[in-house]
């Protein structure tokens, strides 16, 4: 590997190189498009590559820069967008057949932000259909493969975004996280992912899975990159009623601070025991030790209701999803299947949904429809909401004594493709550590903790109180620096080279 290969630089360093005239955005964008062309046939991280548009934006940036225009810090640095985010004039499928061929007439608010700051959009990344899954195997367009081992899953639902940045196809990517879909892929691909505070990033234009849990966030290779991208896409949006008004600290400053002296880090007792693989736990403990060595205080905290979180999540999420996915009926957009006999509206809806949705989507629609039915609502949806309140109380109690909480992000390293597809419950257990933050609306970050079982990456997760996303960047930035010192460079540098890569 050459240190001058621009696609291997962090996004912040690519931005600096653009500013300092070491290269132009068109070259940089072209380099990423070449990389996609070289490796994505194997990885399948992208569902759509928008080459012409990305290059056009890049040239605009170069022209503007040459003219001395004031530009956003990340202007000209390419970005990939998870295909659950609506992009005007660019196919948006949520990896579902039911939306195949749909060209949205509008942009998600966060996409407007990307366009306003003039980040060339490289394309749309692969995912589990409607973000339902933990392995990207539920994509209607084939799974994404982990760049560490192409027989392994890249995590999910945002496996495409994680692999896109992990395999240097994009320096930055957008993910969405309903139960861990940003953090768990980060963990198993050796990348960084942040689920912001619920309401920090507008949901307008995210194809909803579970409205009260969904949150978009940055997918990157470094903590500082994540902070910069989060600052770009965050902020109040009047089109999202659940969007928060200001009140956040500076993420980029926190990411650069690299100072954890006196920070109190609470280890969640319920999320470090059995179920977590030994080497995943070992890397977690080493990470904590490194932080302790840097002046942080490590304490044990109990969040007793977290044990009910997974169950509550698998009632609330499908309930909301069953409702949010009702609009996919073949009437107004996307797939329409017209049965030959009796093509009534009802029959078209049935046939379209039957043909357009994959098994996991149907499973969750059925679960949610059942949970919301008269006579079952109180026992299922109602009880789950009570658990949600208890989980929030656990967080509130814990944050009275600590600044951030910590756990391994996922129980294991990347498992093999197909290993868990026939066992939904085993698949759901991947999210045990990430789900509580979605139920409580609290922010979380995952960053690499080292190589664990089978020489594959593991992740460490930090959680902070609502609106205290800056603490994630502070602790994450500090740990990243400590670990990279011990590894002698980024963890991703230890990933195997991909065949078919461009000449370096």
């Amino acid at each position: 590997m050459s240190t001058t290969d621009p696609i291997r630089l962090s996004a912040i360093d690519q931005a600096r190189a653009l500013r300092e005239g070491e290269l132009c955005s068109e070259e940089l964008t072209r380099a990423h498009l070449d990389r996609i062309a070289a490796v994505d046939g194997d990885l399948n991280a992208f569902l759509h590559v928008s080459e012409a548009e990305a290059l056009a934006t890049a040239r605009e940036v170069d022209t503007a820069r040459a003219a001395g225009e004031e530009l956003h810090e990340l202007a000209g640095v390419p970005v990939a967008v998870k295909d659950v985010v609506v992009t005007q004039g660019m196919p948006t499928t949520a990896a579902s057949k039911i939306l195949e061929g749909w060209i949205p007439p509008y942009d998600a608010t966060l996409v407007q932000s990307l366009r306003a700051a003039r980040l060339p959009i490289l394309g749309k990344t692969n995912m589990d259909e409607f973000a339902m899954g933990s392995s990207t195997e539920n994509s209607a367009f084939g799974p994404t493969r982990n760049q560490w081992d192409r027989e392994r899953i890249p995590g999910g639902s945002g496996g495409g975004s994680a692999v896109a940045v992990g395999a240097y196809e994009a320096p930055l990517a957008i993910g969405t996280d309903t139960g861990g879909s940003i953090r768990q892929p980060a963990s198993v691909t050796g990348t960084v992912g942040v689920k912001p505070t619920y309401g920090s990033v507008s949901r307008y234009g995210l194809i909803a899975m579970a409205s009260s849990l969904d949150q978009a966030g940055p997918v990157t290779r470094t903590v500082q990159d994540a902070a910069a991208l989060h600052e770009l896409i965050g902020g109040h949006d009047p089109r999202d009623s659940t969007s928060l008004e200001g009140g956040f600290g500076s993420f980029t400053e926190a990411a650069r601070a690299q100072d954890v002296k006196g920070m109190r880090i609470g280890v969640i007792e319920e999320l470090e025991g059995e179920g977590f693989d030994p080497l995943v736990r070992a890397r977690f403990e080493e990470s904590l030790a490194a932080l302790e060595g840097a002046g942080a205080e490590i304490v044990r905290v109990s969040c007793p209701n977290f044990q009910y979180a997974l169950g509550a999540y698998y009632l609330i999420m499908p309930s909301e999803a069953s409702s949010n996915l009702a609009k996919f009926d073949g009437m107004r957009f996307g797939l329409r299947v017209v049965p030959e006999e009796s093509p009534t509206a009802e029959a078209v809806m049935k046939a379209t949904r039957g043909a357009g949705f994959g098994d996991e989507v149907k499973r969750r629609i059925l679960l949610g429809t059942y949970a919301l039915s008269a006579g079952y609502y109180d026992a299922y949806y109602g009880s789950a909401q009570k658990v949600r309140t208890l989980v929030q109380s656990d967080f509130a109690a814990a944050f009275e004594s600590v600044d951030v909480l910590a756990s391994p992000t996922a129980p294991t390293v990347a498992f093999r493709l197909g290993e868990k597809t026939s066992d939904p419950l085993a698949m759901y257990l991947n999210d045990v550590a990430t789900i509580p933050a979605n139920l409580a609306g609290t922010p979380g970050i995952s960053l690499p903790s080292g190589l664990a079982e089978d020489g594959l990456p593991a992740g460490i997760q930090f959680l902070a109180p609502v609106r205290a996303d800056d603490r994630l960047y502070r602790v994450g930035g500090a740990l990243e620096a400590l670990l990279e010192d011990s590894w002698g460079g980024p963890l991703l540098a230890q990933a195997p080279e991909l065949s078919g890569g461009i000449a370096r």
Binding site: V85, V86, T92, A94, L99, W102, P104, P105, Y106, A108, R203, Y204, G205, L206, I207, A208, A210, S211, S212, P238, R239, D240, S241, T242, S319, E320, S323, A326, K327, F328, D329, M331, R332, F333, A345, E346, M349, T369, L372, S373, A374, Y377, Y381
Partner: protein, 502 residues
Amino acid sequence: MSAVDLVDFDTALERYDPVLGIEVHVELGTATKMFDGAPNIFAAEPNTAITPVSLGLPGTLPVVNRKAVEYAIKIGLALNCEIAESCRFARKQYFYPDLTKNFQTSQYDEPIAHDGWVDVELEDGEIVRVEIERAHMEEDAGKNTHVGGSTGRIHGATHSLVDYNRAGVPLVEIVTRPIPGTGKRAAGVAAAYVRTLRDIFRALDVSEARMERGNVRADINVSLRTSPDAPLGTRTETKNVNSFRSIERTVRFEISRQAAILDQGGTVIQETRHFHEDTGSTSSGRVKSDAEDYRYFPEPDLVPVAPSREWVEELRATLPELPAARRRRLLGEWGFSDLEMRDVLNAGALDLIEQTVAAGAPAQAARKWWTGELARVANEREVELDGLGVTPAQVAELQGLVDGKKINDKIAKQVLGKVLEGAGDPAAIVEKEGLAVVSDDSVLSAAVDQSIADNPGVVEKIRGGKVQAIGALIGPIMKATRGQADAGRVREIILEKLGVDG
């Protein structure tokens, strides 16, 4: 339609006690939709008053229209309701092509207004108090048009078109508690209640409240029981009844129909029914059983609506005078008799008279025009008074010409006729057509001289003291001037010329 057994309405009420329940939907006259920036307009080209949100496109989110909340609170306050300190929206889920998201965003167990009442004045002046259970906010659906069938209904249609212009238009639904004790006045109470609400919506200026446009739609629930002490009977709900007359006919028909069923020992089926304007009957819609499950749950894309008490009190303080209070005030100001006032109300002339008075006409004169000649023409043309094309200002101007002795009553009717034909304002018509009363002595004097010369016999009689014979001289003069002569002045001139004291 198969023949339905019916019991005569009055006979039915000898044996059964009717109980009503009425749900009224009113479309709010906000500039934009309930959760969306799309314009809230009527009769635009299909599928033009829409945005990605109106269409429920993937990724779109609702945002509550603050003006719609304000209007809902005003309606709640006018109906003497409690206004919730915090209330949520809920999703009411069912699949139908006119529903863009396959759920309607509505309110379920947390309405913005609840527990109120409204006094309803019947035609005979009696007051009935109707208890209001709740008023809640929701969005309207789009509109399906079924093509290819014979009746415009879905049965037999080859395909359907959907117009989403109406999808997302803000609605407030007002639900009564069961209305007992109406007996033989049941039909009148139902219509008067909806009319009262319609008048309140207009007074609050929250809706145009035009029944014929479907701005106000009523679902009429009727049940019968054997006595006022008996538990409530099974009800039917006749949907979307859109005129006062149809509301009365619906109630009468359902009472007659249900009585016949009960007389034969049958049971009334709980169902929705449709009213048919042509036959005045209702027919079975879908069976509404407990099996229907809308899977309501709190709308997760919206935060609770929590109107501050300050805001509510501010709105309460700025509520306009409501129709009942206004009627009492105007009755006093105008000095009408109760009977006159009732005629005014029944003619739907209250606003028009008030505006005519405001434009300068005396109240009694304004009343006579609107409940007299204009009511007659409206009746003839089968339109509402405000659909005649005559403005209160024109009526006041006409009366001003009469009071100023520019024209007499007879000419005034002629002028009004021309105004109704669209010929313009009364003064201009009088001017243009030379209809002003002729009181110019030089003109009249010549006509009088002619009449005296033509009728020596009559002149003799008058000189002989039979002054009442003067009519025979005036008549030809009026004829000669085509009625425009000032008859009083003509009389004075004749007497003057003949040297006779009137």
